[in-house]
Amino acid sequence: MNLKLKIWRQKDANTKGKMVEYPIAGIEEDMSFLEMLDVLNEELISKGEEPVEFDHDCREGICGACSLQINGEPHGPDRGVTTCQLHMRMFKDGDTITIEPFRATAFPVIKDLIVDRSSFDRIQQAGGFISVNTSGNTIDANSIPVNKDDADKSFNAATCIGCGACVAACKNASAMLFTAAKVSQFALLPQGQIEATDRVLNMVKQMDEEGFGNCSNTGACEIECPKGISLENIARMNREYLSASLKK
């Protein structure tokens, strides 16, 4: 199929960017969206132009590196997939496709479609961990019984790949779903209780300091999340936060 791409081009963090149009021909519907961009980049390189920079790594939907706001939605029009798993069969011959970086003040553009998501790393570092004795007496995690329901919910929260689609989709650029997933995965387990109070307070504090917006429960994040992280986690984080605030 033949397509018209409108792509955000920006030389570096300090230069103003703009949308640039690229016609592209011969795209097959079995290609992934990133493969389509690879084809474009090969053409650009052969013409001596700068290729379009975009993030990617595993290309199998598990690392969270790929991003892109495609036709106004993070990871494009498909549900429950990352951009690397989005197929060109979701588009029609002759379509115009708008491709932009994830937009948030806390995700500044580094170049073209690549944004700096290290704000997520700092939120994680602020409390997304547990203490484990590694002095040689390390206790096997499985020796502590965990309620099945809690274990499942914790595991589901832990499937968050930190892609940032929740922030990109949110009209408020809020990072509540990501932070809530990271808080929940530990809050639901006995191993997570030791740091529970500080964890939620510190992670939310870091989230706010990074400049993410305020959640107004529109639910866009849950719909766009490639891993199906549920809004239940945000309610849980709110509860955790309230009880932690009363303790501290």
Binding site: D208, T218, G219, I234, A235, R236, N238, Y241, S245, K248
Partner: protein
């Protein structure tokens, strides 16, 4: 207590608590107004009670005013902060694919409700203050019904009320369930609560519209 209103979650919870208070207020306001359709006497008695009871006048009323002002001011502050959280806009943003119109436009439905409240204050609240605390008129327990009926003569005012209540319904369609999610309630009762919220959001404003139209066409 750390943070108070410094954190996004604290602000969100405060927004929700003021909303829940306002929902309860709206319900009692509706019930009292609705009696005007059924019985002039009951409406007068209830209004007289509400207008003269010390607890309601000097405790609940200030709390209500605080809740209203807080909810609006915080709504605007959050809107500004949220705009700042995305300093460069998308060229294409398809909110309609993943959210409802009502949830994205709370600020606009809120603004219409604010404009309505100004009108409502001028209509009922200021004359009430003037009657009781400036003119020091003697209490007349039968005056309320006539005051109400008189206000609904003017078709323009009735029209404004209808528009405002439609917008209130839209605001509540998102706001009702959103408030409960914000205070951390998301469990097996959530689907039922959401359904109840939808009925509440439609029936109560519709009821207010009915009351306005009823008095407009019956007197």
């Amino acid at each position: 207590m750390s943070g108070m209103l410094n954190s996004t979650i604290a602000r969100k919870v405060a927004m929700a608590l003021s909303a829940i208070f306002l929902l309860i207020f709206l319900l009692q306001h509706f019930i009292i107004n609705f009696t005007s359709v059924i019985s002039e006497n009951t409406f007068n008695e209830l209004s007289h009670f509400m207008g003269t009871n010390i607890l309601i006048q000097f405790v609940m009323q200030p709390i209500l005013i605080f809740a209203v002002v807080f909810h609006f001011v915080m709504g605007f502050i959050l809107e500004i902060k949220n705009k700042k959280a995305r300093n460069i806009k998308y060229a294409s943003f398809k909110g309609s694919t993943n959210t409802t119109w009502v949830s994205r436009n709370m600020i606009y439905s809120g603004l219409v409700i604010l404009a309505f409240l100004v009108l409502h204050f001028i209509d009922f609240w200021l004359p009430e203050l003037n009657y009781k605390y400036i003119q020091f008129n003697p209490e007349d327990p039968t005056r309320y019904y006539h005051e109400l009926v008189e206000k609904f003569h003017n078709p323009i005012r009735v029209g404004a009320y209808v528009v405002a209540f439609v917008l209130l319904a839209l605001h509540l369609l998102h706001g009702f369930q959103s408030a409960f999610q914000s205070v951390g309630l998301n469990n097996k009762f959530t689907p039922a609560l959401k359904t109840f919220g939808k009925y509440f959001a439609i029936i109560i404003p519709l009821g207010f519209i009915f009351i306005a139209l009823f008095h407009h066409f019956n007197h």
